[in-house]
């Protein structure tokens, strides 16, 4: 009995380290470990493997509820606004999604509504060119709402099925930038009933606990309807997404696994947990 208890302590420490270093967050990790300890006590489980499996299933269960790919109707215009803090991979992700949707028969258009950052428009145009998808743009410095307005008109005129809107990276703490985003959302809603149909928040897997603040503030400001977790091809595990899956009722649409056009996968809870726990 004593021997089993000793294994328990080491195993729980090891599991806690695994969860914390995966960016699950210390409080949530402690909670998951406490649950494990309860189970181990009650059912007198001595096997580390059984406990690991229970933890894996627990996490998988949380994530499975957020597995929901984009479901784009085959008629009408579906608008997707892509948002997030600076450098997370929004523009690149738009290129990937646009290409994927086009290959599935949708007629896609892009809107270059990042009118602030140097060469942002050129960067999106390059992706548009690669995928053979038209990009609606204005000059750098133009009002993003004006670009989006134009893009909606163009999308309707050309009877496009999907319009993906690239926005400038912005820290969720910058009130004026969040107001700018809200304005874009309002303009869209006025022009096309129901727009934006999807607000996709792009998160970087290397981000730590700040991702929770990002999700909360973007959601409070404009209502987020989907998440993308990028850069999972690195060594960061992106465990913060488990916290987000539990604290927010927001589907996880895709993961980014590289810098090329094809480096996009629909979110799969089993694959994610396998990568997390080995």
């Amino acid at each position: 009995l004593f021997g089993e208890k000793k294994i328990g302590a080491d195993l729980f420490e090891e599991l806690e380290e695994m969860l914390v270093t995966a960016d699950v967050g210390p409080a949530f990790a402690a909670e998951l470990i406490d649950e494990m300890k309860e189970i181990a006590k009650r059912s007198e489980l001595g096997s580390p493997d059984v406990l690991r499996t229970i933890l894996r299933d627990n996490i998988r269960f949380i994530l499975k509820q957020r597995e929901a790919p984009l479901d784009i109707p085959r008629d009408g215009l579906y608008t997707v606004m892509v948002v997030g803090v600076n450098g997370t991979g929004k523009t690149t992700t738009i290129g990937k999604i646009a290409n994927e949707l086009k290959s599935r028969g949708h007629s896609v258009m892009l809107a270059a509504a990042d009118t602030f950052r140097a060469a942002a428009i050129e960067q999106l145009e390059a992706w548009g060119e690669r995928a053979g998808i038209p990009v609606i743009k204005q000059k750098m410095g133009a009002d993003p709402s004006a670009v989006v307005f134009d893009a909606l008109q163009a999308a309707r005129a050309r009877e496009a099925g999907v319009l993906l809107i690239d926005t400038a990276g912005r820290l969720h703490t910058k009130v004026n930038l969040m107001e700018e985003l809200k304005k874009v959302g309002r303009i869209m809603g006025r022009e096309v009933p129901g727009a934006p149909h999807e607000v996709l928040l792009v998160l970087d897997a290397t981000t730590g606990q700040n991702a929770v603040n990002q999700a909360r503030m973007f959601n409070d400001a404009i209502g987020v309807t989907g998440l993308v977790l990028t850069k999972l091809d690195g060594t960061a595990k992106g465990g913060i997404i488990i916290r987000l899956a539990r604290e927010f009722d927001i589907p996880i649409r895709y993961i980014g696994i590289g810098e090329k056009m094809d480096d996009l996968r629909p979110f799969d809870s089993k694959e994610f947990v396998d990568a997390l726990m080995g």
Partner: protein, 293 residues
């Protein structure tokens, strides 16, 4: 906040005017939690808390402080000491022109933007500065640096007829020298620390131009992974320091401690915005307070 939590803990204990193993045990747990919540790496936290424990045990509580405040002070001072201290806080610029300054790091951390910010800084000091991008991978990366450079009035070098980053670097260095530039800031493509071919590319650029300074650019919101990234980049290049970007957000920035603990190299600058003037010198006391929340 942390001080209030610790005061609460000490109120429940028989406070004896001296810190001991017993009465700081709960406090150390709170400190550990605070640091992990701030994204300091798990192992770095373990070592740090043990370090604080050994410093705190036996310490007298100063008359002017509560025991909680005393413990926080020990933690705060130790953080400042670890993140500050020796190590040049400025760029190592010498009289051999041009001084190549190389910026490296993961994708999207702010290298290109920081390159322009550094150029503005050195130009403010009266040093003729040129910029060059070796990022042949990211669409419009070269345009991005050129637009930023031109709005500063910095030289922007774009060696023609080559798509090889090492070649671009070598030729830009030669051109910068012949044109009399004192500083040449090299922007590199974002890359994964585990992409061996891309890390080799950085080593070849380094050998080709012999930089005066190699700076790792890292995002302040980086989580536990900061340790792996820092280790690999430092092993490959022997970095001279770090630029911690996006500090104008609300990330606690625990990565700062992890980066320093793993590489032993100083954080030299922090990015505090998207514009060219948004670069500040690193202040360890401010960082310590921020990490502790």
């Amino acid at each position: 906040n942390l001080t209030e939590k610790l005061d609460g803990i000490f109120r429940k204990l028989k406070s004896r005017g001296r810190l001991d193993e017993e009465n700081i045990r709960e406090s150390l747990k709170e400190i550990r939690m605070a640091l992990l919540e701030a994204d300091v790496n798990f192992r770095v936290v373990k070592d740090f808390v043990e370090d604080v424990r050994s410093r705190a045990v036996g310490r007298e509580v100063l008359e002017s402080l509560t025991p909680g405040q005393q413990v926080v002070k020990i933690v705060h001072d130790r953080l400042v000491e670890l993140m500050g201290g020796e190590g040049s806080q400025w760029l190592k610029l010498v009289d051999r022109f041009p001084n190549p300054v190389m910026l490296v790091g993961l994708q999207g951390c702010g290298k290109t933007t920081s390159a322009a910010k550094l150029a503005r800084l050195t130009m403010e000091q009266g040093r003729r500065t040129a910029l060059v991008s070796t990022d042949v991978y990211r669409p419009a990366a070269i345009d991005q640096l050129r637009v930023l450079g031109e709005s500063l009035g910095a030289g922007v070098l774009q060696p023609a007829d080559t798509e090889d980053p090492v070649d671009i670097a070598r030729r830009a260095a030669a051109e910068a020298e012949s044109l009399g530039y004192e500083v040449l800031i090299l922007d590199t493509a974002g890359r994964l620390h585990v992409d061996q071919a891309m890390m080799d590319e950085l080593q070849r650029i380094k050998s080709a131009i012999n930089p005066s300074e190699i700076l790792l650019v890292a995002d302040a919101m980086t989580g536990q992974d900061a340790v792996q990234v820092a280790q690999k980049f430092n092993e490959a290049l022997a970095i001279d320091g770090v630029i911690l970007t996006k500090m104008d957000g609300d990330a606690r920035g625990g990565a700062a401690l992890s980066l320093r603990a793993v590489t032993g190299k100083p954080i030299k600058f922090v990015g505090v915005g998207e514009k060219a003037d948004a670069l500040e010198v690193f202040h360890p006391e401010r960082m310590a307070s921020r990490i502790l929340g």
